[in-house]
């Protein structure tokens, strides 16, 4: 069974505590979510997400506070604008847009957290491994057909 590598950027004020709440209230969420705590969802710049895929991730989910609840009052505004633009950029270059997802999870929504994350895990499982890397990054990742792509080896 394909176990996708999913990177979750959790805003420390809302989603991270929401994830803890999901844990303490025994909500099940898939184990292969690798959580990264960020001061705000706005801190997740597009390069970080592209770098995550370059390092072998299959899916990236960014969870932040609801609009209007941001601790820095406009951080999630920026993310709300950035992620759709990034998704279309990645789609142009060959990455299914469903592999990047943005959602709002407040500190009290433990169950929403586990629902969103499990749902995301299933969509990525359906999509299969990301065809993004040209060479394995220390792990056995399906790679694009090198000979077709790289006329020049070495």
């Amino acid at each position: 069974m394909f176990e996708p590598k999913i990177i979750a950027f959790l805003c420390t004020w809302c989603s991270y505590t929401g994830a803890d709440l999901a844990g303490t209230s025994r909500k099940s969420s898939p184990w292969n979510i690798r959580a990264i705590r960020t001061p705000c969802s706005g801190r997740v710049s597009p390069e970080i997400i592209i770098k995550a895929f370059d390092e072998g991730a299959d899916g990236v989910i960014v969870l932040g506070c609801h609009i209007g609840e941001c601790h820095y009052d406009s951080g999630n505004h920026r993310t709300a604008k950035r992620i759709p633009v990034l998704k279309s950029l990645m789609e142009l270059v060959g990455l299914e847009p469903e592999r990047i997802r943005l959602d709002w999870v407040s500190a009290s929504e433990g169950d929403k957290f586990s629902k969103v994350v499990t749902e995301f895990n299933e969509t990525i499982q359906a999509l299969g491994p990301a065809k993004w890397l040209t060479k394995g990054v220390g792990v056995d990742v399906p790679v694009l057909d090198e000979t077709k792509v790289l006329q020049r080896e070495g």
Binding site: E47, I50, D54, I67, T79, K81, L89, L92, G94, L95
Partner: protein, 286 residues
């Protein structure tokens, strides 16, 4: 005809010391049209305006204003599409509009470098023949009309839509493989002007010194993203690329997305990109 008017106007500006430098185009000894900087009235006859005036001279404004200290004014020859870059620079407070005297040229399109009869892609579909912003307009009563010719947009756009994601990835990787990382696309861009580029850090945080194909892709994607909502489609990056990578296709795609999402086109007026500002009423998404 426009050349004559341009030279007279430049002569007037320089002789009356309204500006200290005129940035325009001139012919190189090999007959190549290239950027030129005129400081004295008697050099104005070097200024030309022709179908090869493709460079976006807004690129030089920022460093020329800094060179002239804090008082001097600069005159610059701008095509309609270049004036959009000027708007972006002014919107982001990169240059002081009062210190720039814009000589707006009505434009009927510039031709490709290697194929003189064909207008560049951006000119074929361009419907803005008059500059948006100008202090002095040089109209085009009768500039020689080059037949626009058909635009091969469809050969690139439609056949690309039905590619699978893997084919798309391999299409772009094949192009990026040729990239020399010479950064000409970044250096020629008027709005792409960070003091130290994110991708040129000594500690190789995002992109290392090597030129593996993934690092080249990371550079091009990151650069394209940083121009989302700021790129005005002058396509100079694609013209200068020594290995013909279709860079501006990425920027055009993002421009379409920004227009779809926020109904905003870069450079139409001096308003910063929606990505740089906080969400307003109708823009709320996600």
């Amino acid at each position: 005809m426009q050349t004559k008017l341009l030279q007279e106007h430049a002569q007037m500006l320089l002789d009356t010391a309204q500006v200290e430098c005129v940035i325009g185009y001139s012919l190189s000894p090999r007959g190549l049209t290239r950027p030129m900087f005129i400081y004295r009235g008697e050099d104005v006859e070097q200024l030309v305006w022709n179908q090869h005036s493709s460079h976006n001279l807004a690129k030089y404004l920022r460093e020329k204003i800094v060179d002239l200290g804090d008082t001097g004014k600069v005159a610059v020859v701008l095509k309609p599409c270049d004036t959009k870059s000027l708007n972006v620079l002014v919107a982001e407070h990169k240059i002081d509009r009062l210190r720039v005297h814009v000589i707006g040229m009505a434009c009927s399109g510039v031709v490709k470098d290697n194929n003189q009869e064909r207008l560049q892609d951006r000119c074929v579909e361009c419907e803005m023949k008059q500059p948006l912003v100008y202090d002095y307009l040089i109209a085009a009563e009768h500039t020689p009309e080059v037949s626009p010719g058909e635009f091969d947009q469809d050969s690139w756009q439609t056949e690309f839509e039905d590619y699978s994601s893997e084919q798309k990835a391999e299409f772009w990787l094949a192009h990026f493989d040729r990239c020399l990382r010479c950064y000409a696309c970044r250096q020629v861009c008027p709005v792409c002007d960070c003091p130290t580029c994110l991708f040129e850090r000594d500690d190789s945080l995002w992109v290392g010194p090597g030129s593996s194909i993934q690092e080249k892709r990371m550079f091009h994607l990151g650069r394209a993203y940083h121009l989302a909502g700021r790129c005005t489609g002058c396509n100079e990056c694609e013209r200068v690329c020594p290995v013909n990578i279709p860079i501006s296709k990425i920027n055009q795609k993002l421009a379409q997305v920004i227009e779809g999402e926020f109904g905003f086109r870069a450079g139409i007026e001096a308003v910063p990109s929606p990505l740089l500002t906080v969400v307003s009423g109708k823009e709320y998404g996600g």
